[in-house]
């Protein structure tokens, strides 16, 4: 006899470390990835991401990072460092919110639930609205 639990796919929860210094991009992307079943760890800068990766007991399967990061190390430098401490770590670099949303959608197509919760273009539109709202209010 099938129960609802039997019908669901077995899910190995994968963890994405999302690195983006702009909270109005990071937050919607993180929410999208969570909605499609990932556990998401958010890092606002390279130092935070390094702190997380230096903890061997914190599982990280994929890093999704902006290329442009404040400080002495950009996304490329961070990726090189991350591979040195966690060989085999999957690292995806993106340079724009569009590419970040595309990369998140790609993860959701191959991710734990193997489904997109909603079109990733909605995420991108939401990010654009948030950035526009911030610009109108003169925030940084």
């Amino acid at each position: 006899m099938n129960t609802p639990a039997d019908k669901s796919k077995p899910v190995a929860v994968e963890t994405v470390l999302l690195l983006d210094s702009d909270v109005l991009i990071r937050m919607p992307i993180a929410q999208y990835l969570r909605d499609c079943g990932y556990r998401v760890l958010e890092a606002a800068n390279v130092n935070e991401a390094m702190t997380i990766l230096q903890k061997p007991d914190i599982q990280v399967d994929v890093v999704l990072s902006d290329v442009e990061m404040p400080g002495s190390m950009n996304g490329f430098g961070f990726a090189q460092w991350a591979r040195s401490v966690r060989p085999g770590l999957q690292i995806v670099l993106s340079g724009t919110p569009q590419r970040t949303a595309d990369a998140a959608a790609e993860l959701c197509e191959h991710g734990p639930l193997l489904m997109k919760p909603y079109d990733h273009k909605i995420v991108l539109e939401h990010i654009k609205r948030l950035l526009a709202a911030r610009a109108r209010q003169g925030g940084s």
Binding site: V23, L24, M27, P28, Q31, Y32, R34, D35, L41, E42, A43, A44, N45, E48, T51, I52, K55, I58, Y118, H126, L130, A133, R134, Q137, G139, S140
Partner: protein
């Protein structure tokens, strides 16, 4: 506040909690507990990020550290919440207390090292008797 019959039939909306903390591992631990308790959690590392969120979307609860990137910048968050976000529950989660004149801004104070479950319990008590606003925000 009285819930209408229509509201009574609706599943409860997830409360949106903004958590501001600059220590990433503590932030990770607390946000894990909050999410396990079915809150929608927006996490930020400093006052500037908190202000970006507060100026662009509504939240139900704000939990802030007192000293993040700048000493005392949690007070900036608190003053913004009190000036512009009526009805939002404001919690201080810090190792130190603010000046006595500013303490009345906060609804509750959790001293580090606090138990995240205590914060969860406080929010649950607060909202057990308070109806929730209609959710018109993203996701």
């Amino acid at each position: 506040l009285i819930n209408t019959a229509a509201e009574a039939d609706m599943p409860p909306r997830r409360l949106k909690v903004l958590f501001a903390e600059d220590e990433v591992l503590l932030r990770l631990m607390v946000t894990d507990v909050l999410r396990q308790n079915d809150f929608q959690v927006l996490e930020v590392r400093d006052a500037a990020e908190a202000m970006s969120i507060l100026r662009t979307m509504p939240v139900d609860v704000v939990i802030t550290d007192l000293h993040m990137q700048v000493a005392g910048d949690g007070m900036e968050v608190a003053r913004h919440v009190r000036a512009h976000c009526p009805g939002v529950a404001l919690l201080l989660a810090s190792a130190t207390t603010p000046p006595i004149t500013e303490q009345s801004l906060f609804d509750a104070f959790f001293v580090k090292p606090y138990q995240p479950e205590d914060i969860v319990a406080w929010i649950a008590r607060r909202y057990a008797t308070t109806s929730r606003r209609e959710d018109s925000s993203f996701a």
